[in-house]
């Protein structure tokens, strides 16, 4: 029966091509706009940590003074990071920040590159599930006994060593030799959840060096450096002992129980710091947030995007009302034919289904066309605004989502007209000519 209805629907659509086109256009434009904004929204609001989201936790400390910031800062001070590393509660943990270093190779003709470098601990790679192509992270011992070792990513390995296994080779960062211990596979979570301080939709760093080298090499911070206290920071040791927030701190716990245990540990840490005159604010506290909470706290999805999604849903609603009106007019015009069908044995349900199939077909067409619009507008926007590719690819799920929303929306719009036409008294139209 479904194919019979489909055949009837197709005839009906062909019979009024202009009107059908109008309806398909209306719904496709609504879908196009909605999918465009929804696509960006979805990519922004994705939680790339997946099932590890509940294990990984960002750490925040309310270390600022009485009248300083009114909320937790996203980063911690170096001295706190240094102290937190001593906790043996979490399974893994890492302190980190981004620096920039001049990169050279043993080739004297190689023109130096300024690359951003993530300064972090060996646990980083396990915690954030970084896949390795060759080698592995530096040994845990390096986190305390600094060594000049580096992990590079696949891209850089291709660029410098044409993709060969480069473990054991030497790189120069600010003219210091570093030994390559690992090459990661292409890997760049989006949003870059573990460090959203300077924008959540950037590529991950190409190089990683041990955090333990920071006080020795005096790496500059390329991230946000936020001070609440007026204190002189004219050299690196002043920076390390300052109250400036510039280090990100993450821990991995096994389960909620261990998380609570760690939170307890942090509370004791805050109390202990208060004894030596830090954490002066009455609100001084510590906070751990899993990845999902972290993305929320840091407002990774910008307000604009939420407004756009909201408005585009309203837009879709207008398109549906539009379609509803046209459908109603179209269906009611067909009342005599429906009367005949009812008389010769079609039940209400069958008439209803026939019309819903027609509406669904229009919705399906609108969905496909809408997908095309969305693809077009995303490509246009990304070309015009030079957007991060991570935000403008049409997500694969949209190939399902778009037609589904379209059909669903069309069916909703079709219910009333289809109900009207199937519930009119068949005898009313049989006599009249």
């Amino acid at each position: 029966m479904f194919f019979y209805y489909l055949d009837l629907a197709w005839r009906s659509i062909k019979k009024t091509p202009l009107l059908s086109l109008l309806m398909v256009l209306a719904i496709s434009i609504g879908i196009g706009i909605t999918i465009t904004t929804l696509n960006v929204y979805q990519l922004m609001s994705e939680n790339p940590a997946g099932d590890r989201s509940d294990k990984l936790h960002g750490v925040q400390l309310w270390s600022q003074g009485k009248d300083a910031w009114k909320e937790f800062n996203g980063q911690v001070t170096y001295q706190d990071a240094y102290n937190l590393r001593k906790s043996d509660v979490p399974v893994r943990q890492t302190a980190m920040f981004v620096t920039g270093l001049a990169l050279q190779t043993e080739d004297p003709d190689f023109s130096p590159l300024l690359e951003s470098v993530r300064v972090t601990d060996s646990d980083f790679f396990e915690m954030f599930s970084v896949p390795f192509l060759y080698g592995k992270a530096w040994d845990k011992g390096v986190d305390t006994e600094a060594m000049y070792q580096v992990v590079i990513n696949e891209d850089l390995n291709k660029q410098l060593f044409s993709g060969e296994n480069s473990i054991g080779k030497t790189l120069y960062l600010d003219r210091k030799p570093y030994q390559i211990v690992g090459v990661t596979k292409a890997w760049s979570p989006s949003p870059l959840y573990y460090d959203v301080t300077t924008g959540a939709f950037k590529d991950s760093a190409k190089l990683f060096v041990p955090f333990s080298l920071a006080p020795i090499e005096e790496y500059q911070s390329w991230g946000n450096n936020q001070s609440w206290k007026r204190e002189p920071i004219n050299n690196y040791s002043q920076r390390l002992s300052s109250e400036m927030h510039w280090i990100q701190y993450w821990v991995e716990v096994q389960d909620d129980k261990q998380r609570d245990e760690y939170a307890e540990w942090l509370t004791r840490y805050v109390e202990q710091q208060q004894l030596i005159g830090r954490f002066e604010s009455p609100e001084a506290a510590a906070k751990v947030s899993n990845v999902e909470q972290w993305l929320k706290i840091n407002e990774v999805v910008p307000e604009d995007n939420k407004i756009l999604v909201g408005l585009s849903v309203l837009f879709l609603l207008v398109c549906l009302v539009n379609m509803l009106g046209l459908l109603l007019a179209k269906f009611l015009k067909r009342a005599p034919e429906v009367g005949v069908r009812r008389a010769i044995g079609a039940s209400r349900a069958q008439i209803f289904s026939q019309h819903m199939v027609e509406v669904g077909l229009i919705g399906f067409g609108g969905g496909l066309l809408g997908l095309l619009w969305a693809w077009g507008s995303l490509s246009m926007l990304s070309a015009h605004f030079d957007l991060e590719a991570a935000l403008t690819q049409l997500d694969l799920t949209m190939w399902i989502v778009a037609p589904s929303i379209a059909i669903f929306a069309a069916l909703i719009a079709g219910v009333y007209p289809a109900w009207r036409i199937c519930s009119t008294n068949p005898s009313a139209h049989l006599k009249s000519q």
């Binding site: 009812r342 349900a349 049989l430």
Partner: protein
Amino acid sequence: MLSMKNISKVFKTDLVETHALRDFNLEVKEGEFVAVTGPSGSGKTTFLNIAGLLEGFTHGDYFLDGVNISNLSDNKSATIRNEKIGFIFQGFNLIPDLNLAENVEVPLRYRGFNSAERKRRVQHALEQVGLAARMKHLPSQLSGGQQQRVAIARALAGEPRFLLADEPTGNLDSMMARQVMELLEEINRAGTTIIMVTHDAELARRAQRNIQIVDGQVCDFTMYQHGAVADKPHLVAGDKRAVEPSSVEAEEATS
């Protein structure tokens, strides 16, 4: 076959109650050919709609082929319409977008026949009305008489027990009307019960039995014998405003 007892149908609007049928009683036996006449607004169409399960009724009992029709669900009554009843309308009511074969196929579709069975029945029904050769034509390409024959083929395709015809010749000239009538008679002889509403007394006389509806009630009914034609003039069919005096039929019936 068809049995109506004390059927009444009331239309209610905000102010007025209109009795379309009141205490309507009728028995039709299997294989009968019944002509229904009556003045305009007397309730003929309401009767036909109720008989054809297109409308419900307010009071009374209606049995069709042994099935109690009161309070039947929409689905059930659609099934009965589909399997047991064929409709023929004054305006033919063919679906203009469908060709002849597809028009005839419509009830078979709703019945759920497979495509081979549908094809066989469509072929057979169109052969019966002599239009099998034109099955790919659209209704608009046919004359009125041909269209009505297609409508009859559509009504026959489901092999109904029971044919309801509402002024089947009302839009046709007398030649074509006669052809259609002959077709109906042939169908009746093959065993199908027919109830036909008509204005045309001449046509009505050709039926086995005439009933007349006046003010929503069966006024009189008598077995009618072929050949006994009264020479009283009667009003022309199609003039819907005119009232045919009931005495005409009554006299004819007694002669």
